[in-house]
């Protein structure tokens, strides 16, 4: 499944970027990545990967059958500039679906790296035989990612009103989007 990695993309400013699964040796570069995410955005991280101990623990227990973490790495210096996590379930009743979360370094937004990562995730999920992919985005915070997902044929599945509380106590909606992965000929 991973033999096509690393997969190269070139951003519109000519930068070569490699997409590949996370390895335990990425700890230093990932710590740097999460430390450079603005405080207001770190607040929304569900898995607290900005905490070096949590990240260390997570990297020691990498299990691609449970969570497939993919990073975008700037080729010239190995800097991690985006991180995507595809969460799979071991429960048989929901093993046909997966959830993705993506985060792009603030200095590398508007280069469509998030879009390439979501597309890569969609293709990988197809190759894994998954049937449906879900993504959750915070309204007003991840609007660019919502736009990218829409362009990649995700559709709005629902809204959880005021599900998220921001650092300042304000409420935000959680937008749930999904994408079917197994189109038949009759769907085209």
């Amino acid at each position: 499944m991973f033999k096509d990695y690393p997969k190269a993309i070139v951003t519109k400013d000519g930068e070569s970027v490699l997409l590949r699964p996370v390895k335990p040796e990425d700890e230093k570069a990932l710590n740097e990545f999460f430390s450079e995410i603005p405080d207001d955005e770190q607040w929304f991280l569900r898995e607290k990967l900005d905490d070096p101990e949590v990240l260390h623990d997570c990297l020691q227990k990498l299990n691609y059958r449970r969570t497939l973490p993919i990073v975008a790495v700037r080729e010239k210096d190995g800097k991690i500039i985006a991180n995507l996590r595809l969460h799979l379930s071991m429960a048989r009743c929901i093993e046909h679906v997966a959830h993705l979360r993506v985060m792009v370094h603030p200095d590398f937004r508007s280069l469509k790296i998030g879009s390439w990562m979501i597309l890569d995730c969609v293709k990988t999920a197809m190759d894994m035989g998954l049937e449906k992919l879900f993504a959750e985005f915070i309204a007003g915070v991840e609007d660019a990612a919502i736009g990218a997902a829409l362009k990649l044929d995700f559709r709005h599945e629902g809204v959880l009103k005021d599900y998220i509380k921001d650092k300042h106590g304000g409420y935000r909606d959680l937008i749930i989007m999904s994408r079917d992965l197994q189109s038949k000929w009759s769907d085209f």
Binding site: K3, D4, K7, A8, I9, V10, T11, K12, G14, S16, W116, L119, D120, V122, K123, M126, D127, G129, L152, D153, L181, Q182, S183, K184, W185, F188
Partner: protein, 220 residues
């Protein structure tokens, strides 16, 4: 004294051959078929136009066009007597294609297809094996573009994602791997796929030019 014209053998017309036994009967895989051979062949009824699917090649003349191009490749699966039941065709990219910017470095495997009546015999794999068994490819970046709208999803009873995985598995046996590009036809659907095989004598510099070209940056 008048010299005799050199004899043209069957082998001259069909190139290297491989005779295989399948559950559909004996099939001959013919590499490098020449136009003269094609004139005496016919297409199997399982290659053609169907309600939800049309073969990429529906006329024998199309094989002649490929075979007569510079370095054009036509590999055929032939059932007795001279019935084309599958094919693999290759050529340099069309001058209007993005990939033509790298000249003869790029070589397209334009189509691999097996008749609906002869599927399940691994003919696609045999056709690719015969085509790729050529030192010619060590100087090339061979590529294939799989567009889901060309796939016989109904006939294979597969989803587009399953068909895509089948294509990946087939081509990866011959050293191909998936690459990303912003070429508009490929990006139109996530199921679409571009795969490449980089020949062992292709320079790193040329590989980098190709990477940039994939994202619309023409080589300087």
């Amino acid at each position: 004294m008048k010299s005799e014209a050199p004899l043209i053998t069957y082998q001259d017309l069909v190139g290297p051959t491989d005779r295989i036994e399948t559950h559909c009967g004996p099939i001959t895989i013919c590499g490098s078929c020449q136009p003269a051979f094609l004139r005496n062949s016919k297409l199997d009824a399982g290659l053609g136009h169907f309600s939800h699917y049309s073969s990429i090649i529906q006329k024998l003349e199309a094989f002649e066009t490929y075979a007569s191009q510079k370095d054009g490749k036509v590999t055929l699966a032939i059932a007795d007597p001279n019935v084309v039941v599958g094919y693999c065709v290759g050529s340099y990219p069309d001058p209007t294609d993005r990939w033509a910017a790298l000249g003869d470095l790029m070589y397209e495997l334009a189509a691999v297809e097996v008749s609906r009546n002869y599927r399940g015999c691994k003919l696609g794999e045999k056709l690719l094996a015969m085509t790729m068994n050529d030192d010619f490819f060590e100087d090339k970046i061979a590529y294939m573009c799989g567009y889901s709208w060309h796939w016989d999803l109904e006939g294979k009873e597969l989803s587009a994602a399953q068909y895509r995985s089948m294509m990946k598995q087939l081509y990866s046996k011959f050293g191909f791997r998936e690459v990303y590009t912003n070429e508009p036809n490929i990006t139109l659907r996530a199921e679409n796929i571009m795969m490449i095989r980089v020949g062992s004598r292709v320079l790193a510099e040329d590989q980098m030019k190709f990477r940039h070209l994939r994202f619309g940056m023409k080589p300087k």
